[in-house]
C-alpha cells in the first residue's frame, strides 16, 4: 500500500512529502474521511433496502433491530402485484424514451443552428434562451398547465416528451461541443451541396456520439425522476409513471387498505433498483459526463 504513495509524483502532496511521518498520517486521515463520506452516501440506501423487508411493527421496535426477522421475497411480490407495478414501469419507459428522443433531436438541432449555421437574427433567440436559463421552470407552472389543458394535451405523454426538447442546459452542452468540432467538416458538407438539414443528420450527428450519449443519459435520469408536471398532467391511474404513483401513494397512504409505511419502503426499493442497474451499466459515462458540465437540477 505504501508503494503507491511513494510513487505519487503529482498533486499538492507528493512522495517527497510522504517521507515525513506527519504527512503520512495526514494521508490516512484523508482516506478515512473519504471512506466515511462513501459510507454516508451508501448507508441510507442500504438501510432502505433492508428495512423494506420489515413489517410495520418492526420499523420502530425497541430495542431496534437493524435486520428484519425474515427476508421474504413474498412481500416484494405481494406489493408488486397489489399495485400492478408493471404498468407504471411501462409508462415510465414510454415517457423516458420519448423524452430522450425529443431532447437529443430538438436541443441538438437548435444548438447546431446557434453554433454552426448562424442565420441572421439567431443572436436574439440565443439571448432569449440564455435569459430564461436562470429562471426556474416551475415558476410558471400555472400558465403552462393551463396551456396544456387548452391544447387538449392533458392525460397524454406529449407534453412530457416535448418539454425535454426545450432545455437550455442541454442546448448549451450541445452548442459547446459543436463549436469544438473542426470547421472544415461543415464546409465540406456545404461544398457537397448537402442541405443544412441533411448535413445535421449526415455529418453532425455521427460526429457527436459522445455528447449525444451524455445528454441522453442526463435526460434519461431527469425524465425518470421527473414528477411535478407528470403529476399534474397524468390524471388517469393507468397513465401514471412510477414517480407519480409513488407520490400519489405517499400522500394518500392512510386511505388505502392494508397499506403501511413498510410497503411504501418496499416500493421505494423497487423504484431505485432500475436506476442502480442503469448506473452500473453506464457508470463511466455518467461519472465522466457529470464532470464535463456542472450539473445542478
Amino acid at each position: 500500500m505504501l508503494k503507491r504513495l511513494q510513487s505519487k509524483s503529482s498533486g499538492i502532496l507528493t512522495a517527497a512529502d510522504y517521507k515525513k511521518v506527519g504527512f503520512r498520517i495526514v494521508y490516512w486521515v484523508i482516506l478515512f474521511i473519504l471512506l466515511v463520506a462513501v459510507l454516508t452516501a451508501l448507508i441510507p440506501v442500504l438501510w432502505l433496502f433492508i428495512s423494506s423487508f420489515k413489517d410495520a411493527s418492526e420499523l420502530t421496535s425497541t430495542p431496534y433491530h437493524l435486520f428484519p426477522e425474515a427476508f421474504s421475497l413474498k412481500k416484494l411480490a405481494e406489493v408488486w402485484n397489489m399495485l400492478n407495478f408493471w404498468q407504471y414501469f411501462l409508462n415510465t419507459i414510454i415517457v423516458v424514451v420519448g423524452a430522450v428522443l425529443c431532447s437529443v433531436v430538438f436541443n441538438g438541432l437548435l444548438a447546431y443552428v446557434f453554433a454552426i449555421v448562424k442565420p441572421k437574427g439567431y443572436k436574439i433567440f440565443f439571448g432569449l434562451v440564455m435569459a430564461s436559463y436562470m429562471i426556474p421552470a416551475l415558476m410558471s407552472i400555472v400558465p403552462l398547465y393551463q396551456q396544456i389543458i387548452d391544447f387538449g394535451l392533458i392525460n397524454t405523454y406529449i407534453p412530457l416528451w416535448f418539454m425535454f426538447g426545450a432545455n437550455a442546459y442541454y442546448l448549451i452542452m450541445f452548442k459547446n461541443y459543436f463549436e469544438s468540432l473542426p470547421k472544415a467538416l461543415f464546409e465540406a458538407a456545404e461544398m457537397d451541396k448537402c442541405g443544412k438539414f441533411r448535413a445535421f443528420f449526415k455529418v453532425v450527428i455521427p460526429m457527436s456520439r459522445p455528447i449525444i450519449g451524455v445528454v441522453a443519459i442526463f435526460t434519461m435520469t431527469a425524465a425518470w425522476s421527473d414528477f411535478l408536471l407528470p403529476y399534474l398532467v397524468l390524471n388517469d391511474d393507468s397513465m401514471m409513471t412510477v414517480m407519480v404513483k409513488i407520490y400519489n401513494i405517499q400522500s394518500t397512504m392512510g386511505s388505502i387498505d392494508g397499506f403501511g409505511p413498510d410497503k411504501l419502503l418496499m416500493i421505494l426499493t423497487i423504484s431505485i433498483l432500475p436506476q442502480i442497474v442503469i448506473f452500473a451499466l453506464f457508470q463511466k459515462q455518467i461519472t465522466g459526463s457529470s464532470a464535463a458540465g456542472a450539473v445542478k437540477e
Binding site: 502532496l13 429562471i135 426556474p136 438539414f197 425522476s225 461519472t287
Partner: protein
Amino acid sequence: MKNTNKLLCDRSSVSYKAKRLFKRNWSGWLLMLPGLLLFLFFVWAPLAQNVVLSFSETKGFESVGFNNFENYTRVFHDPLFTKALLNTFKYIFWSIIIGFLVPIFLGLLLSEVVHLKSFIRLGIYFPSIVSGIAVVIMWSYLLDPNPGAVLNQLLSALGIPASQFLSNPKLTIPLIVVTMTWRGAGGTVLVYLSALQNIDNSQYEAARMDGAGAMSRIWHVTLPHIKPTIRMLFILQIISVFQVFYEPLVMTSGGPDGASVSLLLLSYQYAFKSFDAGASAATGVILAVIIIALTIVYLRLSKPKKDKVARKWRKYAQTSAK
C-alpha cells in the same frame, strides 16, 4: 427604361436586400423553428403569461381583467409569504455552510488520494442517481421523529435525547439542506475533481522549489486555479436554492407552521391548494426578479477580471507598438 433597369439592378435597394437576406438564411431559420416553438410553448409563453396573471384578477387559472398591484399587496400582507421570504435566506445560509463547502472539501481530498480512488468516486456519486422523490421520501422515514425509529435509537444509544427532527422548526431547514446535499454533493465533487486534475503539475513543482509548504501550495496554487469553478458553482448553488420545492413539499408540506415553506412551494400552494392563480403568479414573478437581480450582481462582481485582462492586453499592445 434606363431608369427602371437601374432600379432593378441596384444592389442597395430594399427589396433586393430582403431577397438576399431571405435566400441566405431561410434554411437556417427553418431549422431553428421546431426548437424555438418548443421554447415558446414550454418556457417563454408561460413566463409571459405569468407576468400578465400577476397583474390580473383571475378566475380559475385565467385572467379576467387587470387589477394593478392587488395580487402583490395581497401576497405581501400574507404572513406566510414573509415566512417564505425569510426561509429562503435560511435555506441560502445553510446551503452555503453545508451544500457549498462540503463538495469543495471532498473534491480537494479526493484529488490527493491514490488508493481506492475510483471506488470512492463511484460511492460519493451514487446518491445522485436516485430519483429526487425517492430520496426525499426515504429521508423522511430516516428522520422519523418516533422514539423507536432508526436515528432516534442511534441517538439514544449515544446518550443523546430523542429529536423531533423535521418537526422541530429550528432543525427542519438544516435537515432539508442535508437531504439535498446528500443527493447533490457527488456531482459537484466530480466537477471540482476534474478542475483540480487540470492543474498543471509543474506549478506545484515550482511552488515546492520555492519552499512552499503544503498549506501555501493549496493557497497559492490550488485555490486560484479552481476559483472560477468555485465562483460558478456558488452562483448555481444559490440559484438552485431558490428552486427548493420537492423537499419541503414531500417532507414537511412547508411545516411545521410554515417553518420550511419556500417561495416556489408557496407559489404552488397558492395555485393548487387555495386556487389563487394571481397570488401564485405574483410570488413567481417576485422570485424571478430576485434571481435576475442576483444574476446581475454576480455578473458585476465577476467583471473586474475581464477589465484586468483588457488592461494587460492594452499594456501588451503598447509595449509591442514601441
